[in-house]
Structures are given as C-alpha cells and as structure tokens.
C-alpha cells in the first residue's frame, strides 16, 4: 500500500465520512419519509373529518362515514389492561434476575424470557385462537351470575374479545419491559443496596432502594412496553373479535387501530376509505414515536448517571432491547 499524500488522505477521509454519513442519513430520512407519506395520504380524511374523526363511533365505509373512536378505545383499553397484567410480572422477573437469582440461573432464565419476544405475533395469534380463546371462554361461562351483571363482565361469553387480547398482549409485552427493567436495575450502583443493608434493611427493602434509585428507567421500561402493546397487530386481530364498539366489558369483542388497518386496508376501494385508514396509521405512528422517544430519554437518564458501571458486553441483547 503506497501511502497517499497528506492532502489526498484528508480528502479521502472526508469522502469516507460523508459517504458513510449518507447512509446514516438514510435512516433518518426513512423515519421522516414515513411521517411524510402517512401525512400526505391521510390529508383527505383529516381535512374532511377533522377532530370529529376521533370522537364519533360510526364506522360505515359504504356510507362514507368514518368515526375511529371505537378503535382508539380498543387500543387504549387493551394496552392498559395488558400493562396492568404485565408490569408486575415483568418487574418481578427483572428483580429476580438482577437481585435474587443464583448466578448460574441468571443467563438461561434471561434468555428464555427473551425468547418470548422471538415468537412471531402470528404464532401467538394462532395459539390464541385455538388454545387461549377456548380457555377464556370456559372461564367466562364459569363466572358467577351476579358478577356477569356488572359492566366489566357483561355480554355473551364468546371467548374472543378484550380479555383474550389483553392476555396475549401482556405475554408479548413482558420480555420488553423485563429486559429493560433488568438492565436499569443492573445499572443501579451496588452502594445503594449496601447502604440500605448497612442501615438494617431487609432484602426487599434494599431492593426497594434500588427500585427507587432507578425509577425513571423503570418507568421508561413500562412505557416502552406500552409502545409495543399499542402497535401490536396480528395476535390481537386474531383474538379480539374485531367488532367496533366502545365497551368496558372484558368479554365484549372489540377492535383496535392496528387491527382495523390489517383487516380493511386491502378492501379500501375509494380514496377516502384508504385515507381514513392511513390517518389511523398516522396516529399510531405519532403516538408510538412519542412513547419511544419518552421512554428512551428516561432510560438514558438512568444509564448515563451511572455510565461507569454500565456493562459494556452483551451487544446483541442490548440490540434486542432497543427493539
């Protein structure tokens, strides 16, 4: 290799920086392009319906009436229920793996919980239809009569519906929340726990001290899970019943934003119909974007505080967490 002259070299280096930088720019442009494209296609619907789109309940493509409230409700309600179920479990896993588990169990257990995230949505959906939904149905029919009269459990016990969707979502969200929460707990300096122990704290009290120290990151982990739940499509579509209604009932077949896009996008014959669906996609995009930005900022804040101790290794697991 003949050494290029210093001038050549700095020119080469600049070319290298700009060239590779261009590909990094592509990543940024991709997100910008998604935003632009969604906005462009949904303009028709936005201009025509305005905010009423999200406040009305009638979804009748044939009549040209588009109200997305039931989908918004279904997405929010199912995600809320899923977080209600998944958060305690995910935090339990994170605590167990970072504070309690014997060292030898730690890696295999972490790997197994991460495998939960590797199962494709469609497989969860298939399992949901043929295994979970029948179980939920028998659960629903065995519920005492007086409970069935409450709004939370009203309606026929068909199995497909909000409860099945929330359960599946919870399973799918757990690995994301738990692996980030575990990473956050690991980043908490051991001095926090040692100080607690020195003051006579029990194990749980020491853990509480660690949780308190990392709380912004823990909140970030939960919010990251929320983003996953909101965008989840196939498994939910297959078990939620796809019935646009606003209902508190866990038994009621309902519908989500992602599900309606998945089901109706290819059928959207006219521009307005398509535009309405894309507007739903736009809101999904904006909401998950904000959730991701927020959760990442929260998680970063914790890991920056204690940069010194943040483990450098495990590139793939961190890459997956970023997922």
């Amino acid at each position: 290799m003949s050494s290029p002259s210093p001038g050549r070299r700095s020119a080469d280096d600049r070319l290298f920086r700009l060239g590779t930088g261009f590909f990094a720019l592509l990543v940024v442009l991709l997100v910008a392009g998604i935003a632009f494209e969604l906005f462009r296609t949904s303009r028709l619907s936005i201009d025509k319906f305005g905010w009423a789109f999200w406040r009305t309940k009638v979804w009748d493509p044939v009549a040209g009436e588009f109200g997305a409230l039931p989908f918004l409700w279904g997405t929010l309600y199912s995600s809320f229920l899923a977080l209600l179920i998944s958060t305690p479990i995910a935090l339990g896993i994170a605590i167990f793996l970072s504070e309690l588990s014997p060292r030898s169990l730690r890696t295999p257990l972490a790997f197994l919980t991460e495998l939960l995230a590797a199962v494709p949505s469609i497989v969860y959906g298939l399992w949901g239809i043929f295994v979970l939904v029948p179980v939920v149905r028998s659960l629903e029919t065995s519920l005492p009569e007086w409970l069935r009269k409450t709004p939370l459990f009203s309606g026929p016990p068909v199995g497909v519906g909000m409860l099945s969707a929330a359960l599946i979502l919870a399973v799918m969200v757990i690995p994301f929340t738990s692996s980030v929460a575990r990473e956050v707990l690991r980043a908490v300096p051991p001095t926090q726990r040692e100080a607690a122990y020195a003051l006579g704290a029990t194990r749980w009290e020491a853990i509480q001290a660690a949780l308190r120290y990392g709380r912004t990151g823990i909140i970030g982990a939960v919010i990251l899970g929320l983003g996953r739940a909101i965008g989840e499509t196939m498994a939910v579509t297959m078990v939620i019943g796809n019935n646009p209604q606003v209902s508190l009932s866990l038994f009621a077949p309902q519908y989500t934003m992602a599900a309606v896009i998945a089901n109706e996008f290819t059928e959207a014959a006219d521009d307005l119909y398509l535009s309405a669906l894309v507007e739903i996609g736009l809101v999904l995009f904006v909401v998950t974007l904000m959730i991701n930005i927020l959760s990442r900022l929260l998680i970063w804040r914790v890991s920056r505080q204690v940069r010194v101790r943040t483990p450098k290794a495990e590139p793939l697991s961190t890459a997956r967490e970023a997922a």
Binding site: M1, S3, R9, D13, R17, G19, T20, F23, A24, L25, V27, V28, L30, G33, E37, L38, I89, L91, G92, I93, F96, L100, F111, T113, E114, L115, A118, P120, S121, I122, V123, G125, L126, W127, F130, I174, P175, T202, W204, G231, E232, T233, M238, I261, F265, T266, V278, G281, L284, F285, T288, L289, N292, A313, E314, P315, L316, A319, A322, A323
Partner: protein, 282 residues
C-alpha cells in the same frame, strides 16, 4: 408478630413472588412451544415444502409457494437492509460523538419501536400505490425497513468492541480511515455482525402485518418480483382464520417451521455472541 419479624416475612414473601413471576412468564412460552410442536409435527411432512396448496376440500398439499415466497422476501429485505445497516453502523461507530450521529442513533432506536403495520403502510405508499399492484418488492422493502435499525445498531456496537489499537495500527501504517474501517475493523467484527444479521432476520421472518397489503398473497407459485407473492406468515394467517380443519393443520405446520427457524437463529446468535464476548474479554 413484632416489626422485625414482619419485615422479614414481607421480604421473604416478595422474594417468592418474584420467583413466581418468572414461572408465570415462562408458562406461556412452554405452552406455545408445546402446542406448536404437538399440532405442527403431525401436519408437517415433506409435502409441506414441495407441494402446492390444494383447493378447499381436498386434503393434503403443502406450502411450497409460501416457503419460496418467504425466502424471496427475505432476500430482498436483506439486499436493502444489509448494506445500509452495515455502512450506517460503521459511521455511527467511527463518528459516534458527532451530534448528527447521536440523532441517527436515536432515530434508529425509535424506528425499531414503530409498529410493523405502519411500516407496511409506508411501503404501500412507496411501492404499491404508484404502480397499483401488490408486489414482492413492496413486501421485501417493508421487511428491509424493519431490519435496517437492528443491523445498524448491532454493527455499531460490535465495531465498538473491536480494540481501537487495531484501527490505530492501520492508521499508523498509513491507511486511510476508510481502509482502516472496511479492511481492518469490519472484518474483525464480522462474525458478530453476521449474528446481528441473523437476529434481524429472525425478527422479520415471522412478520405478517406489513406483508398483508404489500406482498399480499398468491395461491400460485410465483418468483416474479413485480407480482404478489405468498409468504409463510400470511399463509398461516389465512389458514388460521379459515373455517377448514385441514387448513388449520397446515397453519400449525407453518407455525412450527417459523418457530423452528426463528428459535434456531436466536440460539445460534446467542452461542456466537457468548463466544465473542469471551474472546474479547481475554
């Protein structure tokens, strides 16, 4: 019970609860695995890979078109995502401290969290709407967009693991930065990066939502990139929500194939990563 005993009891109780949480989370994993294996294994045979779908009512047949379709879609996705991810990751590793690098890194992470169905809409607008036809290219693009952030970030992280003395050595010998990055750093990090690509592939191999209205589906055998194409996940979906018993069986077989491929990718990636970590720790 005095206060100290109560505190200790509570502590023990919480410790047990945390252990239970692990078991509760592993239960669905075991159940999904068990059912996919049990239902899938009876339906899975050589025909599945070599025969075409039979019309409704006729038993037998396979998903040869969907298997080939998935391979084609993955190939297109990789062709898009691997170069972009590799080079963008190289930039992030070489110039990671620049504000623009922070922005790109952040965007990649955020892109990772965007629902796949939304990415599907984008690919639809980009590659389906202008030509008014579903196509393998549109589906491959959608999957590729999902792979880009994963490959970018893994490449960056693995390049950062390579000791910088290697780069400094190359630069001291008079190499340009490009030369140091592409002929020294990248090859050193290559095994890990390949694993990162495997992880990215396993993430998208089972993706269904973004294919529904990009690659669409095809009852027939097709390798044309400008035509709708079948894929395993979409075929599993179509069969799962159909009312036919025989199709359900085939859906389970398809799920088994997907899960089998994805799990072996994950395990392989895990093993290679562990080995690399040990190597770099030395």
């Amino acid at each position: 019970m005095n206060l100290a005993a109560r505190r200790r009891a509570l502590s023990h109780f919480v410790v047990v609860l945390c252990g239970v949480a692990v078991l509760v989370a592993l239960l669905p994993l075991v159940l999904v695995f068990f059912y996919v294996l049990r239902q899938g294994i009876t339906a899975l045979n050589w025909d599945f890979f070599t025969k075409m779908p039979k019309p409704v009512g006729e038993a037998g047949g396979g998903m040869a078109n969907a298997v080939v379709g998935t391979l084609i879609l993955i190939a297109i996705a990789s062709a898009v995502a691997v170069p972009v991810g590799l080079i963008a990751g190289t930039y992030l590793s070489e110039y990671g401290r620049k504000p623009f690098a922070s922005l790109a890194r952040f965007t990649a992470d955020v892109l990772n969290g965007i629902p796949s169905i939304v990415i599907g809409i984008f690919a639809y607008g980009l590659a389906v709407m202008p030509v008014r036809r579903f196509s393998a290219i549109a589906g491959g693009l959608a999957l590729g967009f999902m792979m880009i952030p994963i490959i970018t970030r893994t490449t960056e992280e693995l390049l950062n693991l390579v000791p910088s003395s290697l780069r400094e050595g190359a630069l001291a010998l008079g190499a340009t930065r490009a030369r140091a990055a592409f002929s020294v750093m990248l090859p050193a990090a290559l095994p890990g990066i390949m694993t990162g690509i495997l992880v990215a592939l396993s993430r998208i191999a089972g993706e269904t939502a973004p294919l529904l209205f990009t690659a669409f589906n095809n009852r027939f055998f097709s390798t044309r990139l400008t035509q709708p194409i079948a894929s395993l996940p979409v075929q599993v979906y179509t069969y799962a929500i159909s009312p036919y018993e025989d199709w359900h069986r085939q859906a389970w077989a398809g799920a088994l194939v997907l899960v089998g491929v994805i799990f072996s990718f994950s395990v392989l990636a895990r093993v290679v990563t562990k080995r690399l970590e040990r190597m770099h720790a030395r």
